[in-house]
Symmetry: C2
Subunit: 199 residues, 2 copies
């Protein structure tokens, strides 16, 4: 039975396809949307189509952007001799929010997933190697996730890049700030011990 009306039911169905939005949330969102001023709805709908249609990969670092080169790669204020390798654009944003990094990035758009046969050609690895050959790079910081696939990817890149004579580093693993040892898994604890720094 169609309790509402075709257009509302249709909107609820469309919203339900989004990640993390179940039936109840979709309904709440739909009713919010039909009660919004019409021009707000138009803005929202246009923002979606606009973002989807304009989006592309930065020709240098492969992050998602709407220009040929992303704002970071085009900035003369950044240190273009240090590249941080991340998995996704969201990871880049996470580091940007710290305000502590002034180098540039390379966004792999995924990781190697050996178990699924996902190899270096399925991520932006070739583009990274091209950059390392063409540009003057001093350091490559590997900031893939500390998941199994993230670690495997970091190891793979290390193996390929070290012979080029470029310094390769990996972000530290350990106890997160504010974390209580009691609740932290053994692997993280061992990593924190191995990575201890002298005071």
């Amino acid at each position: 039975m169609n309790y509402y009306s075709t257009s509302v039911t249709n909107l609820i169905e469309e919203l339900k396809r989004l990640p993390g939005i179940g039936g109840k949330s979709a309904q709440r969102l739909a009713f919010h949307i039909i009660n919004m001023p019409e021009d707000h709805v138009l803005h929202l709908s246009r923002a979606m189509v606009d973002a989807r249609q304009k989006i592309r990969y930065c020709k240098t670092c492969c992050t998602l952007t709407d220009e040929e080169y992303c704002p970071i790669c085009s900035s003369p204020k950044r240190d273009h001799s240090t590249i941080m390798v991340v998995e996704h654009t969201q990871d880049l944003a996470a580091y940007e929010k710290t305000g502590q990094y002034d180098g540039v990035y390379h966004v792999l758009q995924g990781t190697l997933v050996p178990s699924l046969g996902k190899g270096p050609d399925q991520i932006r690895f070739r583009e990274l190697m091209d950059r390392l050959e063409k540009e003057e790079i001093r350091e490559l910081i590997l900031a893939t996730n500390s998941s199994l696939d993230g670690e495997a990817t970091a190891m793979y890149i290390t193996k390929k890049v070290k012979p080029l004579g470029i310094k390769v580093s990996r972000i530290a693993s350990g106890v997160p700030i504010g974390g209580e040892l009691e609740y932290i898994d053994e692997v993280t604890l061992s990593r924190a011990l191995d990575g201890r720094i002298q005071l």
Copy 2:
């Protein structure tokens, strides 16, 4: 700093205005949207504008619909002599999902809020009285929420409708099915006691 690109940042900002969607969710949704096939994005965006532009109130029961009369009011299978009064279209949907009610509805689009000076003219009360005068109504079931304002509204309607000689009833309050007495508030427990039924 604009970490992404104007269009993605803009989409994230628009999504953040929706209820229950914070910064992290907006970012996740935005990245999902820009990775969706373009025609899916167009469907979603069109569904929003469509629902917003077509939506109106049913001329009989005041529910949100996209036709002059909603599917329930136009159905000859429903019992048009029993009206259930609810606050919002979502409440109507909640009762429709039970499949246990075959009467029609009246959607107040809110409740009286005496504390804020919201009176009967700010909700669809006049429309309800018109229906009671014009149509042949046997029973009016009050299904406003059991909140303070919902109860006040039910009491107000009872006072106005009873003199017309129409049967007025209120949905039962009590312990929800599966509820554990230990965790239920005193008011609900007293209500459940008062409303006990003989077995």
